[in-house]
Amino acid sequence: MYDTIIIGAGMSGLAAGIRLAYYDQRVCILERHNTIGGLNSFYRLRGRDYDVGLHAVTNFTPPGAKRGPLARLLRQLRFQWADFGLAPQIGSAIAFPGVELKFGNDIELFEAEIARQFPGEKDNFRRLLQRLVDYDDLNPAHFEMSGRQVLDETIGDPLLREMILCPLMWYGNAAEHDMPFGQFCIMFRSIFLEGFARPLAGVRLILRNLIRKFRALGGELRLRSGVARIKVEGGRAVGVVLDDGRELQARRILSSAGLVETLRMCEDLTQADDQRGGRMSFVEAISVLDRQPQQFGHDRTIVFFNDSDQFHWLRPDELCDVRTGVVCSPNNYAYGAGEGLPDGILRISALANYERWAGLSEDQYRLEKLRWYDRLVESSVRFVPDHRSYVIDTDMFTPTTIRRFTWHNNGAVYGAPEKRFDGTTHLENLFLCGSDQGFVGIIGAIVSGITVANKHCLKD
């Protein structure tokens, strides 16, 4: 009998596991995939290491900072700042036709860029920052307000509105077209007010530290152990049945599988409402280059691009929509002296439709991956230097890859649009953490695991 069974060995499940094991609970993390990390995982292909998910750790604050989610999670998990090995970004940009706004880990650069390119909007942007300060986390009506509406009320130039929204949607909006103002504030802070960083070794460094700590505290991790069913007796979860039929018992269950995905496992529910699931999914074209990006004039860490004045954040009807995308170069972080990645790497994400990708035959799937890799890169070189002649290896991940790592419906990267901030479900001892509890990104997911573990799993 476990005190707590945690479903999913992603960032949130591992963080929750550390908290509970630290306070002497018998904890078991069950992971369906053959590796840990969930959305933020890694793999090896033809002798090279690749990250899934991680472009950047957002919410970056420098060592010694006492406030903000990063400082908070380090304290809660008893890590030192250096354990995450974070190197700050060099600098990023939002690129629309004919206009580029640079930004970095200090809001002053972004403000100066706006003042230079949208001189009439300088004071409006200050007013937007004030709206963020005034935003009340504890007031649900504030959260649900339309982010677009707040922008309409504060920023006069429609182009600037779209440019501000573009990175915020890309890095954390589960809903289509608009985003709740609460999510807008969370994303704005994590991207523009705090900022980007990355460990030299990528996401595996963070995962390795999390899993080591979890195991050292006596926590148990079982890979290839998908949960088929959550057993329910008298309104309480009593345990789980694994895909292979084995049963495990627990006093409570904490699931990072997603709201709909978790409800569907509960044997007391005959159907879970699939309509509530998210459907924003991505493809990513990964190019390994024979030189560092800075050698051909690409010095940006992340470039969010969009090829018209209107930013369309919708699931495409086709396999992909490459009108907007994100170009990430893991080379362009300020690593320590003499440190760096051996190859140049560019990762380019675009919007994608899970059902279309999942419906392809194996041969078609291979072909479409090649076809969309070309289209996506072609779209991106309108905004970053053309790097196609330097490519020495490529890979492409699709919504079905994301599904395999996360088990999210529709390969929905940020989960469902409707969040469960209190982490509760219809069962008194079944709780949610991870993207459907509300926080996204690596730091957000870890904070989610900590918050739900503290609130529901520690106090009895």
Binding site: Y23, D24, G64, K66, R67, R72, R75, Q76, R78, Q80, I450, T451, N454, L458, K459
Partner: protein, 83 residues
């Protein structure tokens, strides 16, 4: 435990929870929150560490008693007498 021993133990817990804080100049009669950066998660950890290290249970209704060092020591003294 004597009040002095309890105080030492609380300092040790705070060092664990907030390793970056300088606790040498901590004033006992001033609330923790006014001197060091502690949020509600950190307060939960004080409670949890007491339970882990000394099997002392602090019910949620009594969390307010842990506002300052002086009030914490006073609150814990009868609970940790035999410890």
């Amino acid at each position: 435990m004597t009040p002095a021993e309890i105080r030492t133990e609380i300092i040790s817990i705070l060092e664990d929870i907030a390793p970056d804080e300088d606790l040498t100049s901590l004033q006992d009669d001033v609330p923790f929150r006014e001197q060091i950066e502690l949020d509600s998660m950190d307060f939960l950890d004080i409670v949890m560490e007491l339970r882990k290290r000394h099997r002392v249970q602090v019910p949620e209704a009594d969390y307010a008693q842990l506002a300052s060092m002086a009030s914490t020591v006073k609150y814990l003294e009868p609970l940790m007498k035999g410890a």
